[in-house]
């Protein structure tokens, strides 16, 4: 399978099964359409393209043929067999700790129902956190690297417990030969010098929530009393980014129907000096007034393209920044096993609620049928865990024939479930945006090559 497209003047061809990517001139790009079963339909090509000479066509085809012979083009699909036969020895090695089911913001698009995840507002105790750490140490078996993500609600509302759990995990990690890496996601409202110092010392990554332009941010992310938040957080975020040498953090925003011109928000953040930026499409029930609709896609694509051009321009000038969804290691990246199976929710990554309940990921929290167990009994619903473990791009009908399957790895289970009632039926609008982002990311690489 191949995927071909032209963007920013480059003709790009992705050989889906090998991962190879080529840039073709106009002649080769036209000739490619007439290659069937490794052979050239020469006369068909010449009559469709009278502007091309026989010599040119044959010359371009000989280069195409070389790539085919080297298994860099029209490579056979041997991944399906790997997916069928691969018995994943996966273990739980990452926790999303819902340190606090409460929040001091009232974001209009919050999937966590403004922090309580449709349950009662509550805080995780150290005892629950301790059980969670013991649980992941035991479940991770021979894996050394363990990730803990402090999530909420707003984790800084329960920061003393964050500190205690972190210190406990580090101590236990030494005893059990585990390397803990911590991430904290925060809206920034409660940041102060002491917390910033602690975060920079202990958190290997920090996700700082801000949507971009002040008016966009303040409309969607008000405080409980309805006030704006931009002015309360932006300087603190700049300080954290600078103290971390512009690395190992993200300013992370969400775009909705309200700001389909999100290019302006990304550029606003870049112009503030942030070099690690993620701005993502909102995921909401389709009835919600802020939900992205199919008719919004052309505008979204236009913004992604503008952004790709601007990033390439800035990178050429040595003033670039990273946009999370355009980061693509074309020559390496994750191994094929990860690409087949996706995010790991439910079998490598789980979310723990303040009560100690275990869910496949933060987005499934509160959906009773997806409860996997709890940290006290340390028993996992194996049948449900296996459903996630066994799911891969070849078990999803829509993914099998998609050229982007090894980039998104089947997409987000929760989005699929929330939109289609089936975790193996991908969220179509999300797929379309994902494909556009991959095309843009590769086009950036082509522009910079």
């Amino acid at each position: 399978m191949i995927h071909k497209y032209s963007l920013f003047g480059a003709n790009i061809v992705i050989d889906v099964n090998s991962g190879a990517i080529h840039v073709l001139d106009d002649t080769a790009y036209k000739v490619l359409d007439f290659v069937k079963d490794r052979n050239l339909l020469l006369e068909d090509c010449l009559s469709a393209h009278p502007e091309l000479s026989r010599e040119e066509v044959l010359e371009a085809f000989s280069e195409i043929k070389n790539l085919i012979d080297e298994n860099l083009l029209f490579t056979n699909d041997y991944m399906e067999k790997i997916a069928q036969n691969y018995d994943k020895d996966s273990v739980i090695k990452a926790l999303c700790l819902h340190i606090c089911h409460d929040c001091n913001l009232r974001c209009k698009y919050c999937f966590a129902n403004t922090g309580d995840f449709k349950g009662e507002r509550s805080m995780m105790s150290f005892e629950v956190g301790k059980e969670a750490i013991d649980f992941v140490i035991s479940e991770s078996r021979h894996r050394k690297n363990i990730e803990i993500d402090y999530f909420g609600g707003e984790p800084l509302m329960n920061f003393e417990v964050v500190k205690k759990i972190t210190e406990y995990a580090i101590e236990e990690g030494k005893k059990h030969n585990k390397n803990f890496r911590f991430t904290l996601t925060t809206n920034g409202l409660l940041l102060n010098e002491e917390k910033i110092k602690y975060i920079n010392e202990y958190m290997s990554n920090v996700v700082l929530s801000i949507d971009g332009r002040p008016e966009v941010n303040d409309f969607m992310r008000p405080t409980v009393s309805g006030g704006g938040t931009y002015d309360l957080i932006v300087e603190k975020f700049k300080e954290i980014a600078a103290l971390r040498n512009q690395d190992n953090y993200y300013v992370r925003g969400t775009f909705t129907r309200n700001n389909l011109d999100f290019y302006e928000d990304v550029i606003h953040l870049a112009n503030l000096g942030f070099e690690q930026i993620s701005v993502e499409p909102v995921v909401l029930d389709r009835e919600n007034r802020f939900a992205i609709k199919e008719e919004d896609l052309p505008k979204i694509f236009e913004n992604y393209e503008k952004l790709a051009l601007e990033i390439a321009r800035r990178k050429k000038e040595g003033k670039g920044f990273n946009f999370f969804h355009f980061m693509l290691d074309t020559d390496g990246g994750p191994c094929v096993y990860k690409r087949l199976s996706g995010c790991g929710a439910g079998h490598e990554y789980v979310a723990i609620t303040p009560k100690g309940e275990i869910y496949p990921c933060h987005q499934f929290v509160g959906i009773e049928e997806f409860k996997l167990g709890d940290v006290f009994s340390k028993k996992i619903n194996k049948e449900l865990g296996d459903k996630f473990r066994k799911s891969n791009v070849y078990t999803k009908e829509e993914c099998k024939s998609c050229w982007a399957k090894f980039y998104c790895s089947g997409g987000c289970f929760a989005n699929a479930y929330n939109q289609n009632g089936d975790m193996d039926k991908p969220y179509k609008i999300g797929c379309e945006m994902q494909k556009k982002r991959v095309e843009c990311a590769i086009a950036i690489a082509a522009m910079l090559a």
Partner: protein
């Protein structure tokens, strides 16, 4: 080659031969939380 420039080699084919170690970061830990992108994750052995 005159007509074709290869931007990236057969990363997937190479990876099949090497196998996976399972030590890498899970996708949602880095930034996303509402969407899944796997291809932008780093391979742990290349850190």
């Amino acid at each position: 080659m005159k007509h074709i420039k290869t931007l990236a080699g057969a990363a997937l084919s190479k990876s099949v031969k090497k196998g996976g170690c399972g030590e890498c970061q899970t996708s949602c830990q880095s930034a996303c939380k509402t969407s899944c992108t796997v291809a932008n994750q780093k391979c742990e052995t290349k850190r």
